[in-house]
């Protein structure tokens, strides 16, 4: 079964057509890896799926768990079970990380965290940040840990993770990727992970990967194979290779 179906999706960012009529699907209970060079449209894709207003959908249809969400708001998509982590999350003065984590869990500000939740915050090394303003003075790695923890606390059906591994140290990567995998297994949820690096593949069990280049899907095979090819030959070569699949991910 597919959790997401995307048909002929075109997206404009600041009047520039960044994605050009792409179609693909994501499988339930699976992790999908998306490769692509800087500026290829990966963040646009994730933003458009989540419904962020700066990404204008000019054509196409997005179906999430059988529901057409193309014109649904960010909030509605979030409530249906879609979540995205931000590459550059905003700083919000006076809003404490702990309060936001509680909101993610569906708790009110006066509720306490359960022991299990506390342990996870501690595992993410965010306990000492809980009383700090969200993202204010957080390092790159701290932001990544906070984004992924929020995503997990939201208990999503589909996690769209934009480079959860960039700018994080080896230990944090093991932790973040390990927790993503644990969440996916336990909850049979799906992920779409944007990455530049192969390291995350050690921890996240993904069978499907794809390359996005110039706003279009180009390759469709096992993540490690694509990664090795990109490392050896670069993106352009990878696209030119025999496994080229113009349709990208398509699960029947």
């Amino acid at each position: 079964m597919n959790i997401l179906e995307v048909e002929d999706l075109s997206v404009k960012v600041e009047d520039k057509l960044t994605l050009k009529g792409i179609s693909f699907s994501l499988k339930s209970g699976e992790s999908h890896i998306l490769f692509g060079p800087n500026g290829s449209g990966k963040t646009t894709l994730v933003g458009a799926l989540m419904g962020l207003p700066q990404f204008e959908i000019t054509s196409g249809k997005i179906t999430f768990m059988g529901i057409d969400i193309t014109s649904k708001s960010v909030e509605e998509r979030a409530k249906l079970g879609m979540v995205t982590s931000f590459q550059n999350p905003p700083e919000i003065t006076g809003v404490k990380l702990a309060d936001l984590l509680k909101l993610c869990l569906g708790k009110s500000a006066t509720d306490a965290f359960s022991e299990e939740e506390k342990a996870l915050i501690e595992a993410f090394r965010l306990t000492e940040f809980s009383n700090r303003d969200i993202n204010v003075g957080f390092s790159g790695g701290e932001r990544k840990r906070s984004e992924v923890l929020q995503s997990i606390f939201l208990k999503p059906k589909l996690m769209l993770l934009d480079e959860p591994d960039s700018g994080v140290d080896v230990e944090s990567l093991r932790l973040i990727a390990g927790e993503i995998q644990r969440y996916v297994e336990r909850n049979e949820s799906s992920t779409l992970i944007i990455t530049h690096k192969g390291d995350i593949l050690e921890y996240v069990k993904a069978r499907y990967a794809c390359v996005l280049l110039n706003g279009q899907f180009h390759c469709f095979t096992e993540p490690m194979k694509i990664y090795e090819n990109i490392k050896k030959l670069g993106y352009e070569e990878c696209v030119a290779c025999s496994r080229r699949v113009t349709e990208g991910w398509k699960f029947e």
Partner: protein, 374 residues
Amino acid sequence: MSKENELVNVPHQILEEAYKAGIEADGKNRSGTFFHVNQSTVYSRVNEFFQGKIELMDTKEALKKYSWLGEYMWKLVDKDKDEFTRKVAEDFSGGYFMRIMPSAEIMFPLQSCLLITQKNLEQRVHNIIIAEEGSKAHIITSCVQHSTVPKASHLGISEIYVKKGAMLNFTMIHQWSENTLVRPRSAAEVADKATFVSNYVCMRPVRDVQMYPTAYCNGEGSTVSFNNILYGHRGSLLDIGSKAVLKGKSSKAEMVSRAIAREGSKMIIRGLIDGSSPDCRGHLECRGLLIDDDAFLQSIPELVARKKGVEITHEAAVGKISEKEITYLMTRKLSRDQAVSLIIRGFMDVSILGLPDALKAEIKRIVEASAEAS
């Protein structure tokens, strides 16, 4: 002047309004309590535990008791400054005299409430606070107009002396009504190694407030902080300034203002740091959020350097709530309204006031309740 020993004699309704402005009715967690209603002091009492550490009485009574107090009157605020100071100099109904004795550390805040319940009243008070050498205290003072009073004005002179090595945190909460004219005239003198924190919280609609409290940091290593949390709505006119005059060697000033303007409110946030000691430091921060197009928000920071080596900086930002922040919170399952309200509540962060936890929680309650109710 009638003076009651029990707060129960203060009408229940008044206590309730005062509670919303941070006044604790039973005064158990306060070191002292002072109530001035309309033109008379109705209650003034120091908590048993703090007897001998604090003096609290009506200014007129204090002037009778202490001949030296005359020197503290009109020393920092000029009698002829404007029509309002002249009026109070002419005649006033009292006010609070607070004195924290040398080296006394007061864990519980002192509270004072100035109330107006009488129609068309012009309340005129003169307050004197003396934090003696090495003392440490928090004061919370609330100015409240009973919601049934249609029109009134409040003219208040406050002269504050923070002596050598003392720490005084003074939090003023205004809960006026849409027809009140408010003209506080305050000044403070900060001595060697002394710290003065002046907080101002105004959450309820008010017709017109104009004030520009001044701190004279004359002492070596003296420090002043001015912090404002301002919520301008329903046509409120708020012209709020803070001025720090840094004369003392290594004196420091910090000013932080958070202002929200909506519903036809007009807000001007001024700040002036005047540095005349070669190694003084100052920083001014003003952030304002404009919620709708009917409101007006202006930030006027002024920095003055009179000696080389003075280091004074400022940052100011006014504008609408960031769409990116709203969207971000919406990805966390919040509706747009919930996101906006969370951002506003966070923006008016009481942590900037430097209060102890219990008092901070109380002020937070007041700020959030007002933000929710509007």
